[in-house]
Assembly symmetry: C2
Homo-oligomer: 369 residues x 2
């Protein structure tokens, strides 16, 4: 074990849910309660993300009871556990987000063939692992962490039954090919939070954005994606939204680490990624692990998303593109995108312009690399 | 025509809807939009009332498009028009609510066999008449009013094709028997409004009360009824709520004509009243027309409700009881309630205590007169 860093297995047991776009009226009653009136419920882990394809929801068991059964509301059959690197463990590291835990958490889990679901928030990064994979995950992470389990408000050390098998772990510096296409919509994102006491002040804005984006929010501009994320975990609220959504909120109702800080989103996966493939987040975070570029990573039911500071976006895209070309074998379709579309180049420095078929329901001509 | 008083036929064409209690999740998406985000819709007439039996909703044609079709969402087949006595016509009369229009509107329409649906708000009183009855209603009301029709923002005088048939009209002083049982729950009500600009401040309170009363609001006390009404008509908001609901709102977020003014509610109808019977509101308002007691009257899909100032409640109950006994023939069941239950006597001055079967799903032992 290295350096006494702590990794906590939180008490929450969560489910991953995908709600079809047209089915939002069916779940509005339950999601309004979990998102805005959560203090009156027993749900302590709730996350909602609207993507261009679906509404991706994560809830704990109490929250899950609120969600109606419906054919357009898909539930991933596994129950997932939530891992969190203890606050402060990286206090000396100015980099935030997934970059800081790439080498210690994301890459080892990929090497151990544990698929992960990442959920960065304003406050921290959660790594979700299937309950069935937990033994393997604990074994793997015992290489770098002292592992604790939270239960009934108590924190208990977790006994390590099998020491980590170092042979399974790659050198964290080994380049990994990126096997999925990615695209970079033009939206400019903010990562914000708010004091839960002031949540009522923004309830109307949240209602409008979360449940009526298609009907009430202005149509997407070309090259923009629908993406909005809201989570409440143990009473801490986190939001990821683009400039159009931000404009819906009352002035000074939200706070952010740096006012005016803008993020660009890289969407990974031209088709649903599934829940079994390992190493997607590792492929993205590995080449950034030695940089000082912060990355937020938000997995959803269908696709993954990483957010990077706007000023670093071109650099990150170049790095990721080079990793796509690394890729030795594409197991999937060979017609996958390899080229950059100028529309999506942050500074339009690339002159290739092969445009790929639009694969998502509601994106506005966002092309894939 | 008397005295040049004006009656306006508003532009709205509205539908009456009843949502079963358990079906509220089915309509939450549409009702949140109509109630809280109405500025983003074309709906200009929306009213929501939760009773102990159902959610009773009134919407104009644009709002109606938002309401999902469902077997537990019943729509009364008629389209209704909205009548309104012009503001200022009774400016010298300190009495508010239905009392002031009893003799000029409610009694004549009853005599003309026009069934009405009354909707008092903080700002005014609306009288809803079936579209098919409008010709009859205009003829009848031409006795007392100059009738105008609003269309595309214009106000046009309505030609009177047939003068009122005075023979049809009873002497407004003639006592009318009250044919339906009524009860007086113990809740203490307030009639309030708020500036639409500040609606976002109370959105969470409204969500909680309107959509989650059964699950999130404390259980009803004995002798109390579930009753909450919220309407937005042409941008004016009106609320009727009991003390428990009022406590959910932030301090100073609502205004009322007299702070601390309390109202008691008389619920009329031990069983659904239907939409064809004429004269129910006339029976209640006629004996009060010569008093200086203000009355608000709120019809819902299943039952009618009149609100009277708490200090007048005993007096009103005595008047209404005497009108029940007047009743010469009960066409309906003979086992209808005739006695007062002490629990419901505001000052407990009555000593009879015959308790009647509870007829409503969610009332807490509220007995009928």
């Amino acid at each position: 074990m290295q350096s006494g860093m702590e990794l906590h297995i939180l008490e929450h047991k969560v489910y991953l849910i995908s709600v079809e776009k047209e089915a939002i009226p069916i779940v509005t009653h339950s999601l309004v309660k979990l998102a805005l009136l959560y203090k009156h419920t027993n749900c302590r882990f709730f996350s909602y993300t609207e993507t261009c394809d679906d509404f991706s929801v994560i809830v704990d068991e109490d929250g899950f009871q609120e969600i109606p059964k419906h054919e357009k509301v898909k539930v991933q059959p596994d129950r997932w556990r939530v891992l969190n690197v203890a606050v402060g463990a990286y206090a000396t590291n100015k980099v935030s987000g997934l970059t800081k835990i790439a080498k210690s958490v994301i890459l080892p889990l990929a090497d151990y063939h544990v698929s992960v679901f990442c959920m960065s928030t304003y406050q921290t990064d959660f790594i979700l692992v299937k309950e069935n994979d937990m033994e393997k995950a604990i074994e793997c992470l015992s290489a770098n962490f002292k592992v604790f389990q939270e239960k009934d408000g108590e924190t208990m050390p977790v006994p390590i039954n099998h020491p980590v098998d170092e042979d399974k772990l790659q050198d964290p510096g080994t380049p990994r090919p990126i096997v999925h296409p990615f695209c970079v919509p033009l939206n400019r994102f903010s990562i914000r939070s708010l004091n839960p006491e002031t949540l009522p002040n923004v309830a109307c804005a949240l209602l409008e954005i979360m449940f009526y984006a298609e009907s009430l929010i202005s149509p997407l501009q070309d090259g923009h994606d629908r993406f909005f994320s809201y989570s409440v975990v143990d009473g801490e609220i986190s939001l990821v939204m683009d400039a159009d959504a931000l404009a819906k909120f009352p002035t000074n109702s939200l706070f952010g680490s740096t006012a005016g800080e803008c993020w660009r989103m890289i969407r990974i996966g031209g088709a649903p990624l599934g829940f079994d493939e390992c190493g997607i987040a590792a492929q993205i975070s590995q080449p950034l692990a030695d940089t000082d570029i912060s990355t937020y990573y938000i997995s959803t039911f269908l696709t993954d998303h990483t957010l990077v500071p706007e000023e670093d976006a071109d650099h990150v895209i170049q790095i990721l593109k080079s990793r796509q070309q690394l890729q030795p074998i594409r197991e999937e379709n060979d017609d996958g995108p390899q080229h950059i579309n100028t529309m999506n180049s942050v500074n339009s420095t690339d002159d290739s312009d092969e445009k790929l078929p639009v694969r998502h329901q509601n994106d506005k001509d966002v092309a894939y690399y």
